[in-house]
Subunit: 124 residues, 6 copies
């Protein structure tokens, strides 16, 4: 059974396919810019993903938060780095961000379980 984040990512891809069915040049180019902006530059990818995460938190977009959380996991963000980033979002954005922070940390917690689960099948 897929985890919540996996289910989210599959649905996200399914819907992006529908977007691409209708998208003209403008939307396609925006998607391209959106992908390039998080690439390695003067700032490392990890920092850029944290920037994307905090922006998503204060704008209160769960889908955007889940996307950047998964990327943060891939980039090796630690629990404390995540907590400090969410704390900044909480202070800037106020208690109205709490429901999103709650769902973010629950997803993070599950993702960590996933990793553990994937490793479990005992390979050393």
């Amino acid at each position: 059974m897929p985890s919540k984040i996996e289910a989210f990512q599959q649905e996200r891809e399914r819907l992006n396919d529908i977007v691409m069915k209708y998208a003209g040049t403008g939307i396609k180019r925006f998607y391209n810019l959106d992908w390039q902006v998080y690439r390695e530059g003067a700032l490392p990818v990890k920092t850029k993903e944290l920037l994307g995460l905090v922006a998503s938190l204060v704008l209160r977009c769960d889908d955007c938060i889940f996307f950047h959380l998964a990327r943060c996991k891939e980039e090796g963000v630690t629990d404390v780095e995540l907590e400090e980033t969410l704390n900044i979002g909480l202070i800037v954005g106020g208690s109205i961000t709490i429901p999103h922070m709650r769902r973010a940390l629950a997803a993070w917690d599950e993702m960590k379980g996933d990793v553990a689960r994937q490793k479990e099948p005992g390979d050393g």
Copy 2:
């Protein structure tokens, strides 16, 4: 089985009935203004629905988006007109609107299927 948009509209009506059970004059009059503002005027109804749609997209309200999408369908908005409207919302509102644009285009795609399905029963 009702489509997602039909299910959304049935739930919307059920909840509006509850609103009307509690609503005083102020809320009732607001509902009335909200209905009148999209009526034919110097601007055609179709343009007004596109205005309602782009406002709903940048404010990121799925229910409002679905409502105006269904109205756009009734007013004969084409795929390209819809795409150009969503593209403006995307540029003005940024990537944070993408999850809503995704769900909007998936609903539009389904609505187009619905129409086809309704016609299908072959009546010439």
Copy 3:
């Protein structure tokens, strides 16, 4: 079977436990401030809960709305007081708040049924 509001509150507690697993001093202190700000002061608790409710409505956060609605119920807010508060939120925040107002009044309606149901078991 738990009502929608009860289910919401159970899930909320489950997720808050996950938050506390990761929270440092900053997040914990914010939670504390968030709890203290609605306590009796120069303004009565009931007024403060209405302030929290209207702020949650115009910022369009369902979870925050449900939380303050449940507190409003406990503080004896009447139907008309609730309606007047939501009406202010509707005027300030516009039609974009309507889907949230709809869900708020449906939850309120259900909570009132709950109370009745709890009393029903007839114990005089």
Copy 4:
């Protein structure tokens, strides 16, 4: 010389006159609803003005804040009642509301000086 709040109110009236020059029925009726929603009802006027104030603070609209502050003054809101209301807005809306809270309290401070000044001309 007019105080900042007086200057704000004069400019507000001048601009509202321009609005009325262009306004059709829809905008005029909205203005009317906007005026009626703060009238005495199940909730006292003072509470309604505090609700309008906190909604304006979390939505970060200085003009709206100044308007409700002036009305709060007229309704006899005390310093502590104001502080508790702003504190709720600050917790809900986060540090992003601080610049508006700063300007709100500076305006309040000035308004209190104004009152004193108006009384000063010594008439008993």
Copy 5:
């Protein structure tokens, strides 16, 4: 002496020059997309400018509003078309948009005076 809108546009250009001094490819491409999205397509330019205007109003960005207002003027938008567009923004976005609508109509009023003034120097 430049009108308010002219002063706004001169300052806007001065600041855009500073942006371009620092902008990398990503920001430059975004500027390009932002310019292209309002070009003639399935929807006429006038409609697209009204879409940009209503999006700017509900997101409450005065600079964006002034920009689209000036473009609307160039595209021959009439007073009533403008009023209907603003009315939709007002209903969707609520009273919190009123200060922006006020400044928008004052700028519009001034722009109309400007046009008259420019013609006045009597050249037939």
Copy 6:
């Protein structure tokens, strides 16, 4: 003559003094949390200031942007690091953030001039 940023900071301090005149424990503690959240932790101060900056940009608060810009300057943020951070804010938040990005880069440009000016008085 003070630069724009210096003038902004002086006014900010003047207004914060007024806030402290009215602030109860809740507001004072929030100010304290707001100060602590940007301190060195698992993430370096510079990263935290960039997080505060991007959050301020997408929420479109000039005062907050100016504050974090000045801190970024002190922490040695380079032009390119700043540009990449603003670019993320622009993509996430859309063209509605452009007026704020414009003012941010103009302030940054001025601050860089300031530093030069301060050094100029030729002391080696």
